[in-house]
């Protein structure tokens, strides 16, 4: 396989390049805050997709961990440390991870509908705390007009610097998340998604991996939330509400997180831009927003990249049917589960 196809299969350098030159793209490049929010959402959706797309766990409360991140940064800056931004962000990631670590312990054994129910219920606890605990979280009004510190001595008041700082965090996060997704753990999670019993028979402690990936996902969700707080220098309880958790699920599904690692990025970009424009021009945009859930679930459940993949697969199958090119048969088309004579499953190693 040559390098060109490689880049299209795993196009993170292209994504980095696109976001790097974003501020000079005509028309849209002017909206630096929008660009920064896109990056934040990409981190958030990528982290969420570790749970949904890789482990196949229907979490519907991820907004809460994002919200925890925003409050962690806001409170740290307000009370303890306001010089730099790195320490508040680390604290945000830590608390995002701490909460998912705790929740993960409680729900690692649940699957399917029960898992979804409990993630909704637990995330709602954080919302009530954020909304009611006025002394600490500012209650309904939230925490506003924070003084954001510097990064390596660079003032982040300039939107361009802020954009590139968030871009920098995005690059690091994407590389780490991609590494985790392609690691053996990622493989085990995919096995778990297909057939958990089988994965257990192979000797994997699937509950441990669910717990692990849920925690990792929470760390990055907290980090994304922390960046959001730095971007808007404020934190609101709204981000913790379960209705908001729908956003990230929507973005992930829309892009095709179920079939492709980069689905969440495609979805986030389309979702955020569409939301910005619709809400600016149409008061009742929520109508379209709600209906788009229905349309996606009914007609394109695998998302936009899923459609692309389907077309590719169909073309590939056609070329096979034409009788030529049998050698191009790739991993996916090989029969995956071969029963050997002993009744064991076929080759497991790789």
């Amino acid at each position: 396989m040559n390098k060109k196809t490689n880049i299209f299969k795993d196009p993170y350098p292209i994504i980095f390049l696109l976001f790097f030159i974003y501020p000079i793209i005509p028309f849209i490049g002017k909206f630096r805050t929008l660009g920064a929010e896109l990056l934040i959402w990409c981190i958030f959706a990528l982290s969420f997709n570790l749970v949904l797309g890789y482990a196949g766990l229907p979490s519907f409360g991820h907004g809460a961990f994002y919200g925890v991140g925003t409050y962690a940064v806001a409170l740290t800056i307000m009370h303890f440390y306001s010089k730099g931004v790195i320490i508040p962000l680390i604290i945000a990631a830590f608390f995002g991870g701490l909460f998912t670590f705790f929740y993960g312990y409680l729900i690692k054994k649940k699957r399917g509908i029960y898992f979804a129910l409990l993630t909704v219920a637990f995330s709602q606890i954080l919302y009530v705390i954020g909304f009611r605990w006025d002394e600490v979280t500012g209650g309904e009004t939230g925490i506003t007009s924070l003084k954001i510190g510097t990064f390596l001595g660079i003032e982040l008041k300039n939107p361009l610097y802020l954009y590139y700082f968030i871009f920098f965090v995005f690059v690091i996060s994407l590389i780490i998340i991609r590494k985790i997704a392609n690691s053996p753990v990622g493989q085990i999670l995919r096995a778990l998604k297909q057939d958990e019993k089988r994965a257990q028979y192979l000797g994997f402690n699937t509950e441990k991996y669910v717990w692990y990936i849920f925690t990792v996902s929470g760390i990055f969700a907290g980090l994304a939330g922390g960046l959001y707080c730095i971007l808007y220098s404020s934190a609101f309880a709204d981000t913790l509400h379960w209705v908001k958790s729908g956003d990230v699920v929507m973005a992930t599904l829309l892009g095709g997180g179920l079939v492709n690692f980069y689905g969440p990025i495609v979805g986030s970009v389309i979702f955020i831009i569409a939301r910005e424009f619709l809400s600016a021009f149409w008061d009742n945009w929520m109508l379209l927003y709600g209906l788009s859930f229905v349309i996606i679930i009914l007609f394109i459940p695998t998302g936009l990249l899923g459609i692309v993949e389907n077309i590719k697969e169909r073309k590939h199958r056609d070329s096979l049917n034409n009788g030529n090119n049998n050698l191009t048969m790739n991993e996916k088309d090989k029969p995956a589960k071969i029963l050997t004579k002993e009744g064991n499953d076929g080759p497991i190693k790789d």
Partner: protein, 295 residues
């Protein structure tokens, strides 16, 4: 502490709990038989209240009381046939998201049709005034409301536990494949359950309308308590749902005396405690959903 105040709060809690239970029973039945987390259940509750407001201003109280839940049930029928039917047997997130999206869209429709202002419905003539129970003065309407909700809940409980239709429903929660193998029409059963759930949600919206103000967000507000109560009571258990409803209602109502600002959080804490000791909920039975693997 003032005893009559405590008693009044306690009664308020019971009324609240019974309304919650009526909503939660429908939610729980749909969850059990159709295996869909129905996020549009709160919306049906809101529509019950709005229909009641509109119809009662034109045609009077009794016709509105009769007509609104039926209209909501018909809405439920449409939702089931057009949307939820398509996601049976798929990832649970799909059912959740499709009802969630639909509820968001319809909430916007409510805002477009009825506007953003909150409405209030006056209590019907026959239910106005107070009753004296010992030293306590208590609103007549709340008592009528409590009795009415209790009757509905008992009726549902009787149907589920004592009739052959109820037996099929319960069997559907245990093993839906088996009941279709035994010759029962599973899709029809699911549709029926959804319509019944919608009817109950609409009815709860109607009877709660004079008590609370009618606003577009009321569906979202009632969804979480209903959800929590269904989980605490144990999925599929009517008895458990009623008891959990009363428990949540009275505890949150009485907690106003001690921690006025954090009453909303108590149902969630109760949920965590219950699930920690009894993963299937208080009276939960083994259902398909209850794939809670215990050590």
């Amino acid at each position: 502490m003032n005893v009559s105040l405590v008693l009044a709060l306690f009664f308020n809690g019971i009324v609240l709990g019974l309304i919650y239970a009526v909503v939660a029973v429908g939610f729980s039945l749909v969850l059990g038989v159709a295996q869909v987390i129905n996020f549009s259940h709160g919306l049906l509750f809101a529509f019950g209240a709005y229909f009641f407001w509109s119809i009662s201003s034109v045609a009077g109280f009794w016709i509105a009381l009769f007509l609104s839940p039926i209209l909501v049930a018909m809405m439920g029928l449409c939702i089931e046939l057009l949307l939820i039917r398509r996601v049976y047997g798929q990832d649970p997130l799909f059912g959740l998201l499709i009802t969630f999206g639909f509820a968001l869209a319809m909430e916007e429709v409510i805002r477009m049709v009825w506007g953003k202002v909150a409405y209030s419905v006056s209590t019907p003539m026959f239910a106005r005034g107070q009753l004296f129970i010992g030293d306590i003065i208590y609103s007549k309407y709340r008592i009528i409301l409590a009795v009415f909700s209790l009757l509905i809940l008992l009726l549902v409980w009787w149907v589920i536990t004592r009739t052959s239709f109820g037996a099929i429903i319960k069997a559907g929660m245990f093993d839906s494949e088996m009941i279709s193998a035994l010759g029962h029409n599973l899709p029809l059963l699911r549709t029926g359950i959804f319509v019944i759930g919608a009817f109950l949600a609409g009815l709860a919206g109607v009877i709660a309308a004079p008590l609370w103000s009618i606003k577009s967000g009321m569906g979202t507000d009632i969804l979480m308590p209903a959800f929590i109560i269904a989980l605490i009571g144990g999925l599929g258990s009517i008895k458990g749902t009623i008891i959990a409803g009363l428990l949540v209602g009275t505890v949150t109502s009485l907690a106003v005396l001690f921690i006025p600002r954090f009453t909303d959080i108590l149902p969630y804490l109760m949920l965590i405690v219950v699930l920690f000791y009894k993963p299937k909920g208080l009276f939960g039975e083994v259902t398909i959903l209850g794939e809670v693997r215990e050590e």
